[in-house]
C-alpha cells in the first residue's frame, strides 16, 4: 500500500492532533475525520478517545473499540475473539429476510454464527420463525446469547463443533440453513487479508477452504429444504455445484444458484429442494441470485 505523504500527515495534524493516528487505516483526511467523530460520539472521556486512536493506529478494529457494529436495523455487540459482521453479510441477510414469508412459521438454523447477527436479523424481521444458532467457539456462544438478550430477539444458541458432531445437533430437520463459514484459504491469507483482520480477528472464523461446503453436502442437505452459504471466491461456489451435480440423487432434487454482492464479487452459494418442502423455496428465492443448476 502506498505510503502516506508527510504533507498529508502535517495537514491532518493541523486539523486535529489525533487525526494522524487514524490516517494509516483511513488513508484520507475526510474518512479519518469521520471516524474520529464516531469515536468522539460514543466515548466522552478525552483520555480514552486518545487511547482508542492510538490502538486504531495499530490497526485495531474500530468495532472492538466502540463495542458494536450496525447490522441492518440491529446494533450487534462485538467482542475480541469473535468475527465482526461484514457489510457483505448484512447485505445478503437483509435481502434474504425480505424475501422470507411474513405469515408462516418456519425453522432457521445458522451455523458458525459468531455474533449471531444472521439469525438475529432473520428473527427480528420475521418474528414468526424460530431461530437456532450453532458455533464451536465458547466466546462466540456466549456473545450470541448476550446479543439475543440485549436485542430482545429470542435465539436458541448451542455450542457444538459441526465438523465433528453434526449428528448430535437438534432440531434434526429445519427449513433453512444459513452459514458464514471460515472461507479464506491458507494460501491467500497472508497476501490478500488486510492487516487489521490478520492481527486482531480470530483465525478460527477466517481460515478454511472447502471443509464446510463438504460438510454441507454430506451432513446438512439431507436435513434441510434450503441453504444459503457465504463464500470467499468462485471456486467454493463451483465446489458445491460440482458435488451436487455429480450426485444423481441430489442433482435431481436440488437447484443451486450463485449470488454476487454489490462489489461484484461472488458471495453466496444457495440451493433448495424442488419438491417435498414445507415452503415454496423456488418462488421465495426466485430473484435472489442466478440459478446455475
Amino acid at each position: 500500500m502506498a505510503r502516506i505523504k508527510p504533507s498529508v500527515l502535517k495537514k491532518a495534524w493541523q486539523v486535529n492532533r489525533l487525526l494522524p493516528l487514524l490516517l494509516p487505516v483511513c488513508r484520507t483526511i475526510e474518512v479519518a475525520q469521520q471516524e474520529l467523530r464516531w469515536i468522539q460520539e460514543e466515548i466522552s472521556d478525552k483520555k480514552r478517545v486518545r487511547q482508542c486512536c492510538l490502538l486504531r493506529s495499530r490497526h485495531y478494529p474500530l468495532q472492538y473499540l466502540l463495542g458494536t457494529q450496525p447490522f441492518g436495523p440491529l446494533d450487534v455487540i462485538c467482542q475480541p475473539g469473535v468475527l465482526i459482521p461484514r457489510w457483505e453479510t448484512e447485505e445478503w441477510a437483509v435481502s434474504l429476510a425480505g424475501k422470507l414469508p411474513r405469515d408462516r412459521t418456519f425453522d432457521v438454523m445458522d451455523l458458525c454464527t459468531g455474533t449471531g447477527c444472521i439469525p438475529l436479523l432473520l428473527k427480528y424481521m420475521r418474528p414468526k420463525c424460530s431461530a437456532f444458532a450453532i458455533d464451536c467457539s465458547p466466546l462466540a456462544y456466549k456473545l450470541a446469547a448476550r446479543n439475543s438478550d440485549m436485542l430482545r430477539v429470542p435465539l436458541k444458541v448451542t455450542q457444538k463443533d459441526i465438523l465433528k458432531c453434526s449428528s448430535e445437533v437438534v432440531p434434526r430437520t429445519v427449513d433453512l440453513i444459513t452459514c458464514n463459514p471460515p472461507y479464506i484459504p491458507r494460501s491467500t491469507f497472508t497476501r490478500e487479508t488486510t492487516r487489521s483482520v490478520k492481527l486482531f480477528e480470530p483465525k478460527l472464523a477466517l481460515l478454511g477452504n472447502t471443509e464446510f461446503y463438504a460438510n454441507l453436502v454430506d451432513c446438512w442437505m439431507s436435513r434441510t429444504d434450503a441453504f444459503v452459504y457465504e463464500v470467499g471466491d468462485l471456486s467454493q461456489c463451483q465446489y458445491v455445484l460440482e458435488r451436487v451435480t455429480s450426485d444423481t440423487k441430489l442433482s435431481k432434487n436440488w437447484r443451486i444458484g450463485f449470488k454476487h454482492d454489490s462489489n461484484d464479487q461472488p458471495r453466496i452459494v444457495y440451493g433448495f429442494r424442488t419438491s417435498g418442502s414445507r415452503l415454496n423455496w423456488a418462488s421465495i428465492l426466485e430473484e435472489f441470485g442466478d440459478m446455475k443448476h
Partner: protein, 155 residues
C-alpha cells in the same frame, strides 16, 4: 416609557413564525422511489468478505428524471445512511421542482432565524436603555441630595 412603547410595537409585528409550525420536510413519494437508482460504494475492488473489515458504507442515490445524485456516509449504519440519503435527495428534488430556488421550508427557517436574531438584539438594546435610565435617575437623586445638604449648610 420609551422602552415599553418599542416593546409593545415589536410584539405586534415579530414572531410570526413558530418553530413547531414550519412547512413540512419534503418526502420521497413511492413514485419517486421507483425512479431511483441506489448504489453502495465501499471503496476498493478487492476480494472483500472476511478478508477486509470496512467500517464505513457509502450510499449513492440517483434520481433518474432529474439526474440529481446524492451521497451519504455520515453514520456507520447502512440503514441509517440510506434514510439520510433519501431525506437529502427529497430536499434536492423539491428544490429542483421549485425551479432551483429555496423551498418554502427553507425560506421559513431563514425567516425564523432572522427573527431570533432580531429579538436578541432588541432584548439587549432594551436592557441597555433600562440600565441607562436607572443610572440617570440615580445621578439625579445624588445631585438632589447634594443640593439639599448644601442648602442645609447655608441656612
Amino acid at each position: 416609557m420609551k422602552a415599553l412603547l418599542r416593546r409593545s410595537f415589536h410584539v405586534v409585528t415579530a414572531r410570526s413564525i413558530k418553530k413547531s409550525k414550519l412547512p413540512p420536510r419534503p418526502k420521497l413519494s413511492t413514485q419517486m422511489e421507483s425512479e431511483l437508482e441506489e448504489k453502495f460504494l465501499h471503496g476498493g475492488r478487492g476480494p472483500g468478505g472476511q478478508k477486509i473489515n470496512k467500517c464505513n458504507s457509502k450510499v449513492q442515490l440517483k434520481h433518474l428524471p432529474s439526474g440529481i445524485v446524492v451521497e451519504c456516509q455520515e453514520t456507520r449504519s447502512r440503514d441509517q445512511n440510506r434514510k439520510l440519503a433519501r431525506e437529502k435527495l427529497a430536499l434536492r428534488i423539491a428544490q429542483w421542482q421549485g425551479g432551483g430556488g429555496p423551498i418554502a421550508r427553507e425560506v421559513a427557517l431563514h425567516e425564523w432565524e432572522r427573527q431570533g436574531k432580531r429579538s436578541k438584539e432588541r432584548k439587549s438594546k432594551d436592557k441597555h436603555v433600562k440600565h441607562q435610565e436607572v443610572r440617570k435617575s440615580a445621578e439625579l437623586q445624588k445631585l438632589q441630595d447634594e443640593e439639599d445638604i448644601l442648602r442645609n449648610l447655608f441656612t
